[in-house]
Symmetry: C3
Subunit: 351 residues, 3 copies
């Protein structure tokens, strides 16, 4: 009971912090029909600076880190990404009124990661003075790529399998099916990997990582990327709040199953991430802040880099379903649940 | 005489300060035909950040303020907005070559408020180390909405009245006129209020106010909004200088009355605002800096949020007249006259 | 030998510094086919802020400077600009497969100056704690305009001369040729000067200079332009790296002579600038940092303001040739060779 009250108090006080206040503010003014907008080009620039900051910070930490410390959380991140997609393929994909392709696209986005949500989690931990491993930003691509690859591969496979029986039996005779699938899978895997690495979000992050690891960007990090981080994040939260509200209307066009999934998945996934983080905590002394951020990564769903990848890889899937569920429901729920993971870590590990 | 010399010295030294130097610089390079431009999307973003800053600062002050202190200046702001419009409807609107609709649109913009001019005033006071009530930003919507509503209502009423006699007498027989007008007025009032609150400028300001009052944005305010304020303002002043010069050419198309009004109105309105500020000073100890900023608000004319409202509400009015007069003449005169109010407050109250 | 090792070490450690690391990073991710991009409007804004910063800093220094100290480097800058163009008109323009117009356009850009390269040089000197005259930014337009005017004039003259014999002899009889050329030259000279001064880059720089000299922008310079300088420069270097890679492909369409020129010219020109800087060092005690920056100015080629000027003045020249050579080869070579000038100055003067 005391734990519950403590959690509730933490959550409430977090809602007043800039990050959540701007998110909620964005939803409010969108709900009131405000014509305020953050220009698209400025928005993309803000995301770029945030991703470079996260990447640079992670790279500088990896430079100084004991790589064996990084290995366990990295494997954990891959596992979380795959687990989320497998879970979704057995829940959302089997709900009534949900097509296989739409479900897998949605599930893939929920397994993938949101840089903005991660940045929000980092800002909140720093506000609380809770330390975390600097290399956390480097876990982002592990979980992101694992989830996208798994989701798209499963979707393609089931599409190929269901297309099989309808094919002309006289031509795809004998063992033709499986080898074709195998070759397709390999090409597919490579294609997804290449597309993901080339996507603006991942490549900005990897660029920051590389410069952080190989260069000496400390002066520019301290004079620019670090000081501007919170402010640009506040603008980004504003945009995401407005965007979430706008996307909610798209949800009306798809099955209610998506609303349910969008509300529940961030919490379930956060628990999965938190659990695997706790394992890493026991094994390698992974910090409480690190456990929180692994939960945040798991809880978040891709809003910037994921949707274009899905559109390219699964053109048959309906964007109203996956973008609406992810940006309209999943992202605000994930951001609003960050205080929960902080409170949980405080209760279980102590921060 | 000594006061006059003191005022002249203050004005001259202010012209060297960044705010006015960038405004004058912008006018100069526009006059020289420079192809320099600040991209539109960046410009809109800068305005957004400035408005959020003013709103957040005001909200944080209102949170800690004695609300009765706010009441008198707020009523004063509403009075100033209405007075300016009534004055304009008896001066500009009666000058030769001036149509009623054009005049009321122009007068409405001059009664409404410019966030950039207010920001310039705040920056100048801070440069001088002159204190002012933090809640001043919260006065903006009071004056803005009062002026826009009064101007549009008067214009619609006189349009309806002048349309009346030309109508077919057999149909609008009896008391039909007044009730129709009354219903129209109520719908009109609501429409203007809703439009104004939804406009990007006012909603950014109200959002900042709300987050400042209800949230705890202090960290992001101190790390981002406050430090970037002067720099972004310098860019904005540059844009406004260039814009003012470009708009001047539009003035050639309209009656000379507008040039006269654009030059005189900011000074007359500033005196009205200053006078009402002095009343508040006597009544509630409203600060010298506050009196200056009330004069600045009164003196300023709307350049961002006002014109679209006017275009929507009074489509028959000529934008060359009201945008040209406001942006081309009124705004630079208002900004350049800020040192005058500082010098006046110093002479009358002491700063 | 020890000098060579010292130079090599300086160069290597510089590659890790933010400025060069971001440039190389940009080239890398472009080479990997990343879809990352910095929005065009934001990019133009970043350049504007950098130019204002360089101009303001120079203006504030000129305000306090002994003008006779400025005179010698300014004359040196004009000389360098003219020398580079004359050298190019006798080398690149005579190589096989190179048209006269294309050559002169390319040579003009290499004589003109890149604000980004200059900013990179300044940031590197500051990283090393090497002092330089604050007025260096004021040398930019001297070299830029001298080079553009010389190149365009030479191109027009040779076009006019080669057109002469083909003309109808009966009409341009007698002394018609020379006077026509002379009148054309004067109009041309004035046209180039006006176009250059009106170009966004030069007018931003001159505006900053004017405000720095006549105003008191110190507060906004310290709170905004100076702190943001390195961070915005890192983004700009990223863009320039990506742009350089993209332009390289255009080089395939033109003669190999351009690649050769693009690789060699920044080094040769840097030596010319360094040499003239050494003369100024002996004559007036021009600082080691100043000598480095004069070499950087000479080594750099125009990437922002020059190309549009060339397109307008020499429409017959092929942009693939001059933009590709300048942005694709010259600029990265010039930026990457900055550490060379620092090492050279250290060896010859001591920094």
């Amino acid at each position: 009971m005391e734990i519950a009250i403590g959690i509730a108090e933490t959550v409430l006080s977090q809602l007043q912090k800039p990050t959540l206040a701007f998110l909620i503010g964005g939803m409010m003014i969108a709900a009131l029909g405000s014509k305020l907008e953050v220009p698209e080009q400025v928005y993309r620039f803000i995301v770029l600076v945030l991703l470079l900051k996260v990447g640079l910070g992670a790279g500088m930490s990896v430079r100084d880190a004991n790589l064996s410390e990084l290995a366990v959380p990295a494997i954990g991140a891959v596992l979380v990404g795959i687990l989320i997609v497998l879970l979704g393929s057995r829940t959302l994909a089997r709900l009534p009124g949900v097509s296989r392709a739409d479900a897998m696209a949605t599930v893939g986005l929920f397994g993938a990661v949101s840089a903005s949500t991660l940045a929000a989690g980092m800002a909140m931990l720093e506000d609380e003075g809770i330390a975390y491993e600097g290399f956390i930003g480097a876990l982002y691509p592990f979980m992101d790529i694992a989830a996208l690859v798994t989701a798209i591969t499963l979707a393609k496979l089931s599409a190929a399998r269901s297309a099989q029986p309808q094919g002309d039996g006289t031509i795809t005779l004998g063992g033709g099916g499986p080898p074709k699938l195998e070759g397709m899978e390999q090409g597919l895997l490579k294609g997804i990997l290449v597309d993901t690495v080339k996507s603006p979000a991942i490549s900005a992050l990897l660029l920051g990582l590389a410069i952080g690891m190989l260069g000496r960007p400390d002066t520019v990090f301290d004079s620019f990327y670090e000081p501007l981080f919170r402010g640009l994040l506040s603008i980004l939260m504003l945009v995401m709040g407005m965007e979430a509200w706008a996307r909610l209307s798209e949800m009306r066009k798809v099955a209610h199953a998506y609303v349910l999934y969008g509300l529940a998945a961030p919490l379930v996934h956060g628990v999965i991430g938190f659990g695997i983080g706790m394992v890493a905590h026991e094994m390698t002394g992974f910090s409480a802040g690190g456990v929180v951020l692994l939960a945040v990564l798991a809880s978040s769903s891709s809003d910037i880099s994921g949707p274009p990848t899905m559109r390219a890889a699964l053109p048959e899937a309906n964007p109203s379903a996956y973008v609406g569920t992810s940006t309209g429901v999943g992202t605000p729920v994930a951001i609003l649940s960050i205080p929960l993971w902080i409170a949980l870590a405080d209760a279980l590990i102590g921060v």
